[in-house]
Assembly symmetry: C2
Homo-oligomer: 360 residues x 2
């Protein structure tokens, strides 16, 4: 391998579920040849049918192998990939599992370990399987790349290039740092969301009828597969357990404050929460810009939505996000246009002058 190799392919994807197939589609989009393998021949056929590449044969010589199998299987499947590529030019091997110290631990003493560099794209979906895959899954998302002390520089470089070809932003961390980070920004939040959702499971229907966007947002991630998240959390037990003990200490304080009527204690805990929401960086790493929502009634006729966006485009205001709230029982839907706070008034008057019913 040269000093600064390009990821020209072929890239082998082992495991054609949501992540594996999405990576394959993103690589195909970038013109890279992709070889697919999976214990399910059905999944390989499906992924291949979606344009994700072709089934791997024994004669193939991948430049990089991406292991995208369930967490419990990562160790042996990575070891297998290192083993079967050692005599055919020594491909770099990465995995895209959610935990990074556990698979590395399974490779201790493996003489080929220098060709392995862990990675973890910060993207996913509540859905799974190749049919849920998308080449766009990683666009603009962080992708952790986690070299270990013996990682080959070439392998690290190829894995960072993989992240970039998939449209993601490579973020380099040690495996241990990575695991502490995801315990905090992913595994612990997932578990707490599950505890909230668990309290809804047997709630009376007329209580649940009052559910608003808040509880839907808090619990959304808890819809993920218990088997998958059981594996992820078990693979990161130490870091997750430590954080849960911290949460428990806060929960004890919270219950005490509420029971005692200690308003100051309660507000203090809520204020820490506000500080936490402000610590999360903006979607693209920058600061969070203040936005304002502009609500517009849109008649339920084909073409009305297009007309709204045409008129919004004329007003020269950049639309940051859109939400549509369309009740099938009503002739008019409500469209929420999220725009820069300083541009909202201009957009409102511009749309009103074109005859749109806005809501202030």
């Amino acid at each position: 391998m040269s000093e600064t190799p390009r990821l020209t392919g072929p890239v082998e994807i082992v495991g054609t579920g949501l992540l594996g197939t999405s990576i394959a589609l993103a690589l195909r989009r970038a013109g890279v040849e992709v070889l697919l393998s999976d214990v399910s021949r059905e999944h390989v056929r499906t992924a291949s049918g979606l344009g994700a590449g072709r089934a791997r044969t024994d004669d193939d010589r991948p430049q990089l192998v991406v292991v995208a199998v369930p967490p419990d299987l990562l160790g042996p499947v990575i070891a297998d990939a290192l083993e079967r590529t050692k005599d055919i030019g020594g491909a770099a091997v990465t995995d895209v599992g959610s935990v990074k110290t556990a698979p590395l631990g399974a490779l201790v003493g493996n003489p080929e370990v220098s060709r392995y560099v862990g990675s973890h794209p910060m993207a996913g979906s509540e859905r799974s399987g190749p049919l849920a895959a998308s080449a766009a899954l990683f666009d603009g998302r962080p992708w952790a790349v986690t070299p270990h002390p013996d990682s080959d520089a070439t392998a690290v470089h190829l894995v960072e290039e993989l992240a970039q070809l998939c449209g993601a932003v490579a973020v380099r961390l040690s495996p241990a740092e990575h695991d502490r980070a995801v315990a905090r920004i992913s595994h612990m939040p997932h578990l707490l969301a599950a505890l909230v959702a668990a309290r809804l499971a047997d709630a009376p229907t007329d209580h649940l009828a009052l559910s608003g966007q808040g509880v839907r947002d808090v619990t959304r991630v808890a819809a993920g597969s218990p088997t998958l998240y059981g594996q992820i959390v078990s693979g990161n037990a130490a870091a997750v357990g430590e954080l849960l003990v911290e949460v428990k200490a806060d929960l004890d304080k919270l219950i005490a404050a509420i029971t005692r009527g200690d308003r100051q204690g309660l507000e203090g805990l809520l204020a820490q929460g506000v500080a936490g929401t402000l610590a999360i960086p903006g979607k693209h790493g920058g600061p969070v810009r203040p936005t304002r929502s502009v609500f517009v009634s849109v008649p339920d006729h084909p073409g009305e939505l297009a007309r709204l966006f045409a008129d919004a485009g004329e007003s020269d205001v950049n639309i940051e996000d859109v939400h549509i709230d369309h009740d099938p029982g009503r002739p008019v839907g409500l469209v929420e246009l999220v725009v820069d706070e300083t541009r909202a008034e201009h957009l409102l008057s511009s749309l009103e002058s074109r005859g749109w019913v806005t809501h202030r």
Copy 2:
């Protein structure tokens, strides 16, 4: 008052913050006269300037008074509204506070209590103040109406009509039932979101850089005002405290399962969470229909978004929701169109045939 009175107005709004001003705007949209009052004359001027109605004078004779003040002030302000309207035709009085037994308790022994009926629109925003108000805030949302045993039927009817005029769906519950319901679907989730967010407040920046949509969703509500939520939670301490003790028992089990490596126990807790997410009704009360996301690259030129919606409209597929992911540093944005699962393939091929770059 007649047996089935219509809410013809005028309606007095006491407190022109986010909720009060939004109700005022919705009533004005329905052609109802609105009278505004607030301890802040500045807020009344702002709300009035937004078209929410005019300042109340001593000669006004409201048909209904809506008290939209902070939770701690509800009792005295409701009592004041009952007192000052008793000699001028006996207006019905409601409030829109998040807790319903506490303000009722403050009215025990009040001879005018039959004219009071509590209510609670299930809508809000992380933002506050009249400038964040919207006439559309309640469209399609549940609005709890909570009569007590002595409530006058006319007053109950007028409050239900208020909910309907604001575009909401009235849901009748007793005050105690309401409080148990919101403890479960709003207050407890808010507090747990705050505990998750609190763990982020002093996290290393490169850990937070890995944040994805999941942690953003889980913690979004925790950005709400500690003072406001402190008042809300304190006003519902018994019901909230009971649920938090249940959550704590689950958290203890969770920590034990993770520490012991008890995978079955861990998956059992996660499975309860999945069941809870399935118990939440769909946005408009119906069952949740399976949707699929179609991703399209959209060049950052004015008019491109309008062209996309025009082409999507031609394909005769109903768009349920839209998300725009536009990184200012990139020439192309990514638009996610959420459609009925069975229509996704048709939309994809229809857009592709019109030259759009889609991502599968």
